[in-house]
Amino acid sequence: MSLDQARRIAEEALSGIEYRVDEGKGFIEFIVAKENLVEAASRLKKAGFDHVKSLTVVDYKAEDKFKIVYHASSYLNEDLAKAIVGIGTEVPRSNPKVPTLVYVWRSVEFQEREVFEFFGIEFEDHPDLRLLLLAPQIAEKKPLRKDFIVKEEPIIRTKPPTG
């Protein structure tokens, strides 16, 4: 089954929900409104997309938004396994809150925790929203946002250390 066939299956499942299609190389994304995210994800799961491969968040600072996409695929349906179909939404950077999809896909539980600490995006009703990888003082800075800039430390010390 090609990506086009998987796309048709997903489009059929999402009928009735307003969506926008974003195409990429090797995957396809359906972007819905925040309110419809849980419903759309549940329908995709019923259509056979049983696990999430990657919870991908991109910070578009110039457009003042986060794009949150759950890239799902299938294990139990061997045809669907060949395609990666994303379902996602966009939220403003000032109020990054989305409903959790843990109750739809248990496989996103740790990935939502990871996004929470790296972007400061809050997943409402997540059963266990704690830090996963980072220490609290680093997580505060929300390191994967574009306004966190990595400063390169000089390798050679130019002045002898004082004190």
Partner: protein, 412 residues
């Protein structure tokens, strides 16, 4: 630490077998790690009732290096040596999908020779990583012979990789549009000798480890993941295949030369630690088959530059002269300032521990706008939380070793 009430989760998910009973008072909290519970640093906080685990909380991040952020400040090619630090003994498998994503954005395909060279190194890496996993697994359950044997035999594959790439580990072999260099003239003989050695050796592994009554008592029926739950938790690689899921990124979306070589994907139904060990064992056999086929193909076909002609056309005269005289290729200087057109791509490859997924976004500069990596161990970590409860404390090393959890790769 928050408290989960497992009974409620059960009713929502219907995941039988993941929950033992509701939390009660009088539980002991035991911190396992972070000083080397296994192959690196991670901690599992467990709560036990007597000898039975009732709750497990994997606490990761001790070897986290913010690779996703670091990659945004580095040129495209420099991310290859960065990402392979996730699993240095599995370097080619881990980076090949990143390179594939770049190739998709560039709209190029590597030449067939490069595809076979990459496949060859991927399989050499897979065997080395499985042996590493077996070694750690062996020492976890007190089987030091397996540890000694597999670490010694891993050396054969590491040296083979050195012969091919010039580096024992961290080969940085796949590059956008091809492979970094071709194999030396005497490589096929060395590869065939190694394959012959392993065929003989694997039988001994089976006798001393997999068919050993002591090992079987420790592994059989431990850490069972039923097929439905494995799909729900999204586990990958040998863990999924030991639970009856027929999924392998090499089959789902064939890359490099995997659609041309013959191999089988071993799948077991039992879903326990022993089945996971068998999957890895059988995968080594299949990798040996692929190595033989790749070496045969490479020997039969005339040498060509293992890099896309679009890049090779811009190679300096010295590069071409060396290639014509000795058949050697080196990394092209233009790679340093490689610019990608704006675009987004995803790619996946099957590493020894399971599938790795890259999402790459370019905005037309010499550095990525965003790279998202989901490594296999990061996806398998959820097993500790949902599968370990209900087993004894001494079964935890078995579960840990059998899913081949590798902290540097999980933490990224």
């Amino acid at each position: 630490m928050s408290v989960w009430v497992y009974g409620e989760q059960k009713s929502e998910l219907g995941l039988e077998g993941t929950i033992t009973r509701k939390l009660e008072e009088d539980l002991y909290e035991v911190f396992i790690g972070p000083q080397h519970p296994g192959s690196g640093h991670m901690r599992i906080i467990i709560r036990i009732d007597g000898d039975i685990i009732v709750e497990a909380d994997p606490d990761m991040g001790y070897v986290h290096r913010t690779m996703e952020k670091l990659s945004e400040g580095r040129e495209w090619i420099k991310n290859v040596p960065l990402f392979e630090r996730m699993a240095i003994h599995d370097a080619c498998n881990v980076t090949v999908s990143y390179v594939m994503a770049l190739e998709r954005i560039l709209g190029i395909e590597p030449p067939p020779r490069a595809k076979y060279l990459r496949t060859l190194l991927c399989e050499i890496n897979r065997i080395a990583a499985h042996l590493y996993g077996f070694g750690i697994f062996g020492v976890f359950i007190g089987h030091s012979t397996m540890y000694m044997w597999s670490f010694a035999d891993r050396e054969v594959m590491v040296e083979l990789a050195e012969k091919l790439t010039g580096a024992r580990l961290t080969h940085s072999y796949p590059i956008p549009g091809g492979a970094r260099r071709d194999m030396p003239q005497d490589f096929p003989q060395a590869a065939r000798k190694a394959v012959r050695y392993f065929r003989r050796r694997l039988d001994e592994y089976r006798k001393i480890f997999l068919d050993n009554p002591v090992t079987r008592k420790r592994l059989e029926g431990v850490g069972i993941i039923p097929k439905k739950i494995a799909a729900e938790l999204g586990v990958v690689g040998p863990v999924a295949r030991a639970s009856g899921i027929k999924y392998d990124a090499r089959l789902a979306e064939p890359y490099d030369a995997y659609d041309e070589v013959e191999f089988e994907v071993p799948v077991y139904e039992e879903g326990d630690a022993l089945a996971r060990a068998w999957v890895k064992f059988e995968e080594i056999k299949q990798s040996l088959r692929i190595i033989e086929q790749a070496v045969d193909w490479l020997e039969k076909h005339p040498r060509e530059a293992p890099i896309h002609e679009r890049f090779w056309a811009k190679a300096p005269p010295l590069w071409k002269k060396v290639f014509e005289a000795e058949g050697r290729v080196k990394l092209l200087p233009l790679m340093a300032n490689l610019k990608l057109p704006p675009g987004r791509a995803m790619a996946r490859s099957e590493t020894a521990r399971g599938e790795i997924v890259y999402y790459v976004e370019s905005d037309g500069k010499t550095t990525p706008y965003r790279v998202r990596i989901v490594s296999p161990s990061a996806r398998n970590a959820i097993v500790f939380k949902y599968i370990a409860p209900g087993y004894k404390v001494m079964d935890l090393p078995t579960i840990y070793g059998s899913i081949d959890y590798f902290p540097p790769e999980a933490d990224r």
